[in-house]
Symmetry: C2
């Protein structure tokens, strides 16, 4: 039987998602906690978005395989007592047939939050918001995003990895002011390559502060290789907010399609 788990964490205390020996990671902590709760020696937990060190999640989705007599509500309740405070499981349920947290996903949505206004400064949110010393022109940043949308090779914005494509479909990339006055970048893509969001945000902040023209983020994309001028902004402003899946009867087809088309970084 496969379970789906919805997971939230404060990335500050973790060396990213992927389990590593001698490092505190989200996957490592989750696997240990789930094994304790299920009373098994070990268990493998897979996720939709393998976040980097310091990156947060409110809407991470995971799957794991368990014995058929496992009760999801019991797992949820017992995990709350076992997990550390910076890592919470928000829901546990029986996954539909063919559900794969990673390969069935249609899209991932991230938010990057920036405070560029002393009036919006909230020390209680400083762990998930980048402080920025200059006022940002949100309209200019939004103008700069047009050439980035759609299917492109994002080699200009990604750290390359051997054998992994950097072609992605960027579905949404939009800045807005939230109710607290923060500048928030909402970014949705079929998948993300390494450091893609943080590089895109770095390029757009240069536009928002007036150091670069609005056409520059598109120029970086067109150049096709990593530019020294593109700043990779800090991890702590970035949060994985939501992962989208197709209807249950299309999960298997989606996973097959993704596996065939792409080696995900």
């Amino acid at each position: 039987m496969r379970l789906r788990m919805d997971v939230a964490y404060d990335g500050a205390g973790f060396s990213g998602w992927a389990a590593q020996p001698d490092r505190r990671t989200v996957q490592g902590e989750l696997q240990t906690a789930v094994a304790t709760v299920l009373r098994v020696p070990e268990v493998a937990v897979f996720c939709a978005g393998r976040t980097d060190a310091g990156v947060h999640a409110r809407g991470q989705v995971c799957h794991l395989d368990v014995a058929d007599d496992c009760r999801p509500d019991e797992v949820l309740r017992r995990l709350a007592g076992v997990l550390p405070e910076d890592l919470r499981v928000r829901a546990v349920g029986i996954a539909p047939a063919d559900f794969d947290a990673r390969f069935s996903a249609l899209w991932r949505r991230y938010a990057y939050r920036v405070c560029d206004d002393p009036g919006a400064a909230d020390p209680l949110r400083r762990h998930e918001v980048l402080g920025w010393p200059r006022p940002l022109d949100v309209a200019a940043m939004n103008e700069s995003t047009t050439p980035l949308l759609g299917l492109h090779d994002f080699a200009g914005y990604c750290r390359r990895r051997d054998g992994a494509t950097t072609i992605r479909r960027l579905i949404e990339l939009e800045w807005h002011r939230d109710e607290a006055g923060l500048a928030v970048c909402r970014v949705v893509a079929d998948a993300f390559c390494h450091q893609l969001v943080r590089s895109l945000v770095g390029a757009m902040l240069a536009v928002g502060g007036g150091q670069r023209p609005t056409g520059w983020p598109g120029d970086v994309l067109a150049a096709g290789s990593r530019r020294p001028g593109v700043q990779v902004v800090a991890a702590h402003g970035l949060t994985l907010e939501e992962v989208g899946y197709p209807a249950d009867d299309q999960l298997a087809a989606r996973a097959e399609q993704v596996r065939a088309l792409r080696v995900l970084a």
Copy 2:
């Protein structure tokens, strides 16, 4: 010339508001930073709500007296560079004549946040939200508040201090679910005595969890002395959100009235 400063802080790193030798306090850090920025040996900063150790603020209001050539926008900008990350000044302006952050205030509004649902757990907000292991009945908690509203002696809910009255006017006391699913208590009073909000919340949580009948918070009030059954809930769930003042031409009258009626704890 008198300045008004709007201040926000994460209470976790402070031994409360009031300056104390050898303790890190909000007043102490603010006074040091302001003196640095104004290039004066020392300065006194007064606030509207003297928060306890661990209590946060988004809407604290302060005043201080400065030389007439002081530029508020310059003070705001320079404070951002001098203050620690857990303490931010959000606005600085010239205060109206007769403004006194403490004695001119009409009311203080606090919020107490509780997460009683794994589905609402957000590790990024754990520093300002009390985790609660049982589901809370918000309607029952709201039923229990009626006898508490209005002018009462809150001795049953306050830690007594010599020479200080415990009579307060409770203007609002209401629980709601916020957009994230947290149970949030909104509480407004003319002023608060020591530990009043945290005791009220403790009594209402006992109602919300079904351990006490809805009439119990009113019984505690009527008994008039501190009850051993009333839990003082943790400081980290409590945030000073806003302070209300009368129109400028009534500031002096309000301050005079408050000073005459009450020795504030």
